[in-house]
């Protein structure tokens, strides 16, 4: 991690000095424990504060479509690089306007899981490749690294960046994956009424803050359907039907585009597993149309193309 940090600083300073980019989007140490803050480094001095650790979960691709101006460099993990590729395919950004600094990633630590294990927000962490030692209230707890990783990192199938201009460090071994399917199958196996109850309960705490939408690199629409009033597709209240209408469409809008970066789940202030719906669609798109989002720049999004032989057994 230290090596990667210094390499990032070195590359960022070089790019800025050579005026190849206007700014570098990266991370700097956060002001609260266990979160590294996204930052924009515009000068070599600012580049010196860049860092890389296991708390750089934020998907920096989210800042790209909203940005105006010239070329920027951006630090990208596997999932982030797929989001960037997706944005290029959807004509939201130009490939030549981003310089992608790829960083192979072995997973980001979930702050909520660490705090739950420690029972306190005042935490200090010492980590290596397999274990994490959590120091809180004068006690030390040792847990396996895989236990405190974000859920989406545990099932990650694309740890290495797929599109990049420069790669930092050696590529890491790709995990076997397939965990998305297993997680989806668990819900699929429930009887219908149980499934409804499960989602009813899951979304009952939603406060409609739209953090999941705002954190998502795919949600770049200038006007979101929830803000439409003529016609109004979705009420503005926390009525259970309104909440579910919002979540159904939020997930559906990500169908065939979601890279399972976990931004939505990380942003949720009430810890709803909002990925449950998006990953179901991710699985369906893969099974029905053999498509995985963000793996190739020239790929057509699955809902923008068709095959004559597409499955249609559900149609009378």
């Amino acid at each position: 991690m230290q090596e990667i940090s210094s390499k990032i600083r070195e590359i960022a300073a070089k790019l800025l000095a050579e005026k190849k980019v206007e700014a570098v989007l990266g991370f700097m140490p956060g002001t609260i424990p266990l979160i590294s803050a996204p930052t924009v480094a515009g000068t070599s001095d600012e580049a010196a504060s860049l860092c890389w650790d296991r708390f750089c979960g934020v998907n920096l691709a989210n800042y790209l479509p909203k940005r105006t101006g010239g070329r920027v460099a951006v630090i990208a993990k596997g999932c982030d690089s797929r989001s960037i590729a997706g944005l290029v395919t959807e004509n939201q950004i130009k490939r030549e306007n981003v310089y992608i600094i790829g960083v192979p990633c072995t997973g980001m630590i979930d702050r909520a899981k660490v705090m739950a294990a420690a029972g306190s927000p005042e935490v200090e962490l010492i980590e290596n490749d397999e274990q994490v030692i959590i120091k809180a209230d004068g006690k030390e707890i040792t847990v396996a690294l895989s236990d405190v990783l974000q859920d989406n990192c545990q099932g990650c199938e694309h740890r290495n960046p797929v599109v990049f201009d420069e790669l930092i460090g050696a590529k890491v071994e790709e995990a076997a994956g397939g965990k998305i399917n297993a997680a989806v199958a668990k819900v699929e196996a429930m009887p219908q009424n149980e499934r409804w109850k499960h989602f009813d309960e899951m979304y009952s705490t939603c406060i409609r803050c739209y953090a999941c939408r705002n954190a998502c690199p795919l949600c770049y629409c200038e006007q979101c359907f929830v803000d439409d009033s003529q016609p109004q597709w979705c009420g503005k209240s926390t009525h259970p039907v309104d909440v579910k209408t919002f979540h159904i469409f939020r997930a559906y809008h990500c169908a065939g585009r979601c890279t399972d970066c976990g931004a939505c789940e990380r942003a949720c202030p009430v810890n709803i597993n909002v990925r449950e719906l998006t990953r179901k669609l991710e699985k369906e798109v893969k099974e029905l149309y053999g498509y995985e989002a963000g793996l190739r720049l020239e790929a057509m999004p699955p809902l923008g193309v068709y095959k004559e032989k597409d499955p249609q057994e559900f149609i009378k």
């Binding site: 359907f225 469409f249 179901k280 009378k316």
Partner: protein
Amino acid sequence: MADKKSEIRNPKSEIGNWQPKIIAFLCNWCSYAGADLAGVGRMQYPPNVRVIRIPCSGRMNPKFILAALRSGADGILVSGCHPGDCHYLSGNYFARRKFALFRSLLDYMGIEDGRIHFSWVSAAEGERFAEVISEVTEAVRAIGPSHRLNRKVMGRR
């Protein structure tokens, strides 16, 4: 004018004389003409269906389906031209992908089977249109009134 409140439905009290309300989104070129043919041919089918004409099944937005359920529909039918017969050549192919994903998402969330239906009915298939409507009406009747995504039934928290 009827009091708006009296329209708010209470599924328990109406079980006895309940009739399903079904919204059918029909494509202008095939299914709508098929419905017309069924009418001209005086074919009998259940009167529970309310037709909304759309230019093409490709015009169908999944938002329409939830909007109908939210405002109290008990069943939805979306019908278009058979594959290969689209007036706009490919609208129904794109629609098919949209429907497949939306249907599986709603099913995953626990919306009853038989609430939402899709069909291909051509302009020459008046009889088939009547059959489809009967089938859909029976399926919706079997599962009863819709409350899972009905904004009118569930009370405020």
